[in-house]
Each structure stands twice: as C-alpha cells, then as structure tokens.
C-alpha cells in the first residue's frame, strides 16, 4: 500500500474495520483464478479436482491454525456476521426454548447481538447483557452470578473491536461449561493479533472473518465442535449440501457440506488460508512485541494530550486499539481533520451502540493498528490531534 491521500502518504489506522492484504494473499487468489479456477466438489474433471483439493487444503490450513480437531469442524461462510447468524438460526432455533437465557457481553458488536435478538424473539428466550467495568473489562463475577440452569449460551468477543479489550475467554468458557452452557466467541478482532487455539480455549463456537486478519473480504468461517454440528439443522439450503432431493423430501449431506450450499468463494477461501500461512510464517512473538510497542506509544502520545481520554483497559490488557474521546470535540470531527492530515481512523459507535451507552458516549475515535504500521504513523496521529484542537477551537 503506497496510497497517498490528500497529497500525503496515508497512515492507515483503521485496521479493525479491515486490514490490507499482503502480496502473498493477493497472489494466492490470483494464481487460483488464473490457473485452477473451477467449481469444487461436483466435477469429474481434473480442474475441478484441483480446485477441490485446494479448497479442502485451505480448510485444513484453517483447522491447523486454530487448533480444531478435524477439518470438518471448519465451516466456510462469507464472514463473521454470517457465522454468528448460522449459529443463532441453526443451533439457536433448535436449542432455545421459552425462558432460556443467552448471556452476551455489553461490549459485543451488533453482529453478536442482533442475530440473538431475532432468535430470542422467535423462541421466547431472553437475552441478558453481561456487565462490564468502567475500564471496559468484563465483569467476571457478575457473569458467575448470572450463569444458572437457564443459561444456554454465553456470547463474547475475544477482542473488543471498540476498545481492544482482550477478554478472558478461557475463564468464561470454564465458567459457562460448568453451568452447562455453550460458549460462542466472536473472534473477528482476535485472529490478527493473537494466536488462537479453540481447544485450549475450550469454546464451542468460534466465528471468524478473513478480511480482518489480512485475508480477503467475502470469506470467513465458523469453528464448531463436531458433535454440535452433527446435531444442527441446515441453515441455508441449495446445491452441494444434499444427499437426495425429490419434490416431497430432501435428505442432507454430512458436515461440513450441510452448511455450505451453493458455490463457495473458492478463491476467497484460498486467500484466507494464505493469510493464516502468512501469519504462521512470521515470528508471532516479534509481531506481538511490535504491536505492543506501537500500542504503548499510541496510548502514551494520545492519552497525554490535554482534553483527550483514552477508553478501555490498560494497554497490557488490550489488543492494538486506541479508542478515545476529546472534550468538546465530536469523534466525527476528529476523523475528518485527521483524514485531511493523511491519518485514517474510524469515528462513531463501531457497531457497538450498547457499549457506547454504557460508557456514556455517543461514539469514539478509534485508531486500530496492524503489524505493518509504524511508529511514524503513530506520531502522525498524535500530531494530527494537535491540528484537531487547532481547527476545532
């Protein structure tokens, strides 16, 4: 990326919205499209077999990367939102009953709230927000109290997109499991920053997006334990996921095919696997250090400015996100001025309106960092904030 904006080199600090893709990912997709493009699964010819092999190899790459037991536990979707919708509609509709409870943290993204509201309305289940502390960390002891025989599922972001909070997923899963509840983790923001091992975390569902971890848009996936997938009814239906169809009756294929009707985004899946491989090929410790350094620098440079307040927990409990507000200046105006300075951040509610309400703000300005960001870019952000004050006051 060497894009220039408003005549300046661009400091892209909106990586929680979407990351840029390294050449390896673009090339993997391109290579597939140019040389082995074919539909998967149903072809008897060579090219289709090549495509199918590449597609299933990508599933295996994802499996290895997240520590699932078998490739069949990885269902490809178009993104994290669809993965959560799949769980809510398929697992939720089949398992939730009148009076059952779904506990969702107050910092969830709308993608992990609204699908549950829809299924709660249809089934009579109840959604209860798990409170958070003022510093934007989960109130674990409140969760402990809320868990009970009615709890069917706990939904929690691994990393908050608004604040960067890293949630204690392992602990949440342990508590939920001992209450007999399932755990769904929204991993959209985690995979770019943390190594993830779904079995070590002990979760039942883990939802993912390709484009937030250096992969392409239009692809993502759901990890679900096989025994859950086996019992779940199909979500979408169509070709490629059936065993037999007559106008009277249809029988479905096994997992994961049952959850992947239609032509999958083969190039996207291959690109996503390439992103996992890109990350695996890096020294993850070094990457994490780099991001931690940037985060500490950004938190310091931003938080020390007059009238600026950084939200969320201390940097060591946070992935590389700095969410802040400025006295008397609306986040939108911050965003516009910074944009003119060549610094791209996000301003608004970040699809987390309940969290904003809890924090008593209408929105925040959010800088979110990726492994390719630099200290210079963070300095540009800090300098930009001085310009914000100059313009706006």
């Amino acid at each position: 990326m060497a894009t220039r904006v408003h005549g300046r080199p661009l400091a892209y600090l909106d990586n929680a919205a979407t990351t840029h893709r390294p050449r390896a990912v673009l090339d993997a997709m391109d290579g597939f499209s140019r040389t082995s493009n074919a539909n998967v699964h149903r072809g008897v010819h060579r090219l289709s077999q090549v495509a199918t092999d590449a597609f299933e190899a990508a599933r295996e790459t994802v499996r290895i990367s997240i520590g699932a037991s078998e490739a069949a536990e990885v269902v490809f979707t178009k993104g994290c939102t669809e993965a959560i919708n799949l769980v809510a509609q398929s697992w939720g509709t089949a398992n939730l009953r009148e009076g059952d409870e779904v506990l969702l943290s107050t910092m969830e993204h709308h993608a992990n709230i609204v699908p549950w509201q829809v299924v709660a309305k249809a089934t009579g289940a109840r959604i209860r927000p798990i409170p958070i502390h003022d510093d934007g960390t989960l109130d674990l002891s409140a969760l402990d109290t809320m868990l009970g025989p009615k709890t069917r599922l706990v939904g929690i972001a691994h990393v908050s997109n608004s604040l960067g909070t890293i949630n204690p997923v392992e602990e949440v899963a342990r508590l939920a499991r001992s209450a007999g509840a399932k755990v769904l983790v929204d991993g959209a923001q985690a995979l770019a920053h943390l190594p993830v091992d779904v079995r070590a975390l002990g979760v039942d569902f883990y939802a993912m997006s390709g484009h937030k971890m250096y992969g392409p848009m239009g692809v993502g996936g759901l990890y679900a334990r096989r025994e859950l997938l086996e019992e779940m009814p199909p979500y979408q239906t169509g070709g490629g996921m059936i065993r037999t169809v007559t106008f009277e009756e249809t029988t479905y294929a096994g997992v994961p095919d049952r959850f992947e009707p239609g032509t999958p985004n083969v190039a996207g899946v291959i690109g996503w696997a390439a992103a996992f491989e890109f990350l695996a090929g890096l020294d993850r410790k070094a990457v994490q250090h780099h991001e931690d350094d940037l985060l500490a620098l950004a938190s310091e440079l931003i938080g020390s400015q007059p009238g600026v307040h950084v939200l969320g927990p201390i940097p060591s409990s946070r992935a590389a996100v700095v969410s802040f507000v400025m006295d008397g200046i609306h986040p939108h105006d911050i965003g516009t001025v910074l944009d003119q300075e060549g610094v791209a951040i996000r301003a608004g509610h970040h699809c987390c309106m309940p969290l904003m309400a809890r924090l008593g703000v209408s929105g925040t300005a959010r800088a979110s960092l990726a492994l390719y960001n630099t200290g210079e870019e963070v300095h540009a952000l800090a300098k930009g904030l001085a310009r914000v004050r100059e313009v706006m006051t």
Binding site: H330, H332, V391
Partner: protein, 145 residues
Amino acid sequence: MNDPLRDLYQEVILDHNRRPRNRREMPEATHSASGDNPLCGDCVTVYLLVENGKIVDASFVGLGCAISTASASILTEAVRGMTPAEAKAHFDRFHRGVMGREEDPRLGEAIALLGVREFPMRVKCATLAWHALEAALADSQKEKS
C-alpha cells in the same frame, strides 16, 4: 494557503457548535420530527411552534458533531418568523445548495454549511436537521389554527 478544513469548520460553524442556539426540548411544539444518521448514531429532533400560520419558536435537541450541531442551531434561528411554506422553501434552497453549486444569499449563515460539499462523507451531518425540519413541517396534525 487554501485550507479545506477552514472552509468546512468556518468560525460561524465553530461558534454555533460551541454555543448552540435554541437547544432545548419544546413540550408545547405543534410540529416535531426526529432524524438519525445510522452510520454514526447521531440523532436530532427539531421542534416547531406554529401559531397563526407563523413559526413563532423553533428548537432542537440532539447529539452530534460540529457540523450537525451548527446546522441545527442555524436552522432554528433562520426559520423563526417564517410561515411553514417559507420554511419549506428555505429547506429546498439549502438542499439545492448542498447538492449543487448554488449559493442562494437568502440562506444567510447557512451558507457556511455548504463547505461540506467538499466532504461527501459529511453531507449527511449537514442535512440531518434540515430533513428533520422538512419532516416536522409535514407533521401537521397538531397544528393550531
């Protein structure tokens, strides 16, 4: 130096943002309507008190950025004293100004808002309150004759 930010955040806008005029609820309003910008979550409600065919009072409440706050503030000052039909014409004038190149001098202070034309992402901020005004004018049920 040509500074697009100074064109957007003109002094008149910053002033209205710092000290918004007529920011209060109006329980006795004859007309009111709300608008929101789902992209940023900002929202505004515009209240009008129409008596004997004239807007005798106008106010707003809402949370928003400098542009949307200033826009609402300027608007409430402008429409006071107008007939509803004049206010509608004023809305049309503003709308034409934002969408096109036109800068009708009758827009008064609202001309300062037209700087958003260079900032397509901010056009909705400037028009939010005006669309609420238009909706309020259409909300004629409670009008006192």
